[in-house]
């Protein structure tokens, strides 16, 4: 059953689609792009590991897709996302949260959302960088397809 709160310790999966330039492969490593977390509505989707049997393959749309993970408490940035006015003065702070947004066919679905809504792109772009940084620190749950190829 879907819970109406995402716990701080919950692991979140994010699918990194194959063939969309969402990581840079150099040698036998791949660095995830901030664009792997972008979202037209500025609310990146994730899947809650607890609700998909901790199966990292759950968010994949294609077996060649890669998967990264985040910890909810790392994503929650209470009072730490600053919105400055044009003079560079503190206007207010955003609260970033992970909220359950289950679909009929995906009860594990959640979204990373701000409160209030972003006033401009700047804080969302920084959030993308933070998410990519955090994901990079945790390593790949499922490596990019290019790294899975057997070496000859």
């Amino acid at each position: 059953m879907t819970q109406d709160f995402v716990g701080d310790e919950e692991v979140l999966y994010r699918c990194v689609f194959y063939g969309r330039n969402l990581y840079q492969v150099q040698g036998n490593t791949a660095t995830i792009s901030s664009q792997a977390f972008t979202d037209r509505e500025m609310r990146p989707s994730v899947d809650r590991a607890d609700l998909c049997d901790n199966n990292a393959g759950y968010p994949q749309k294609d077996e060649k897709d890669a998967v990264v993970s985040l910890i909810t408490k790392d994503v929650r940035l209470i009072d730490s996302v600053i919105q400055n006015n044009p003079k560079g003065e503190l206007e207010f702070t955003y609260k970033i949260d992970v909220l359950p947004r289950p679909f009929e066919d995906n009860q594990a679905h959640a979204q990373i959302e701000p409160s209030p809504e972003y006033k401009n792109k700047a804080p969302f772009r920084k959030l993308l960088e933070r998410l990519a940084y955090l994901a990079k620190q945790r390593g790949w749950e499922i490596e990019p397809y290019e790294l899975r190829q057997p070496t000859k």
Partner: protein
Amino acid sequence: MSPGLLAPKISQTYTIRESYKDTISPTRSILRGGNNFALNLSITLEVNSPSSQRIINFLKCLSILGYLPENTLEKAVFQLEKIRNDDCQQSVHLQSIDYSNNKYSSFPRIASLVGNLEKDYESFCSNYPQTVETAQKLIDLLHSVALTNNWWWYVPLLNISCDNEIVLEWWNQSKKITIYVSEELIDYIKVWGADMDNEMEDGSISLEEDLTHLWQWIAS
């Protein structure tokens, strides 16, 4: 002379298969078989159709980004001009193209844009040549700074954002720069940690200013 850019390592091969009528709206969505995007760019247009200039702009974008083989743009323009001069309705066909050698490996996102041509085409063709040229000039400038100072350089990862900005990303050890290029603005974010307030810095730059400090930061 524009500095040479290293070819990225590409593991996929892309071809293009799609059709456009004189309104340049797609007749079917992008075909995706396995991991091969396919688009056959087949253009039919009427004499002196204003769409012909948009087609040229579109092809110019692809050409600048390195998606068209050498001389393809020139051949297409020649054919389009010929159609105009012959005063009759004809077609321009571009061959299926092997994208394994594209310059910046951003074709997947371009393909997704092309897949939405019906919705985005006008915007893409009217605004994108400038955006693409700006991005190209910026890359050349930064590369030039790197060459002049004998600093670190690598080909950027290139993407297109949801707002059709060209996104360039470079990583060098613990430092990262992301640059968003749009028609009117070039924004950057320096990243050296996960703290959005104390380990990231954002701002805007222009092609007219000295970009040495920006590149020195990531190269050092």
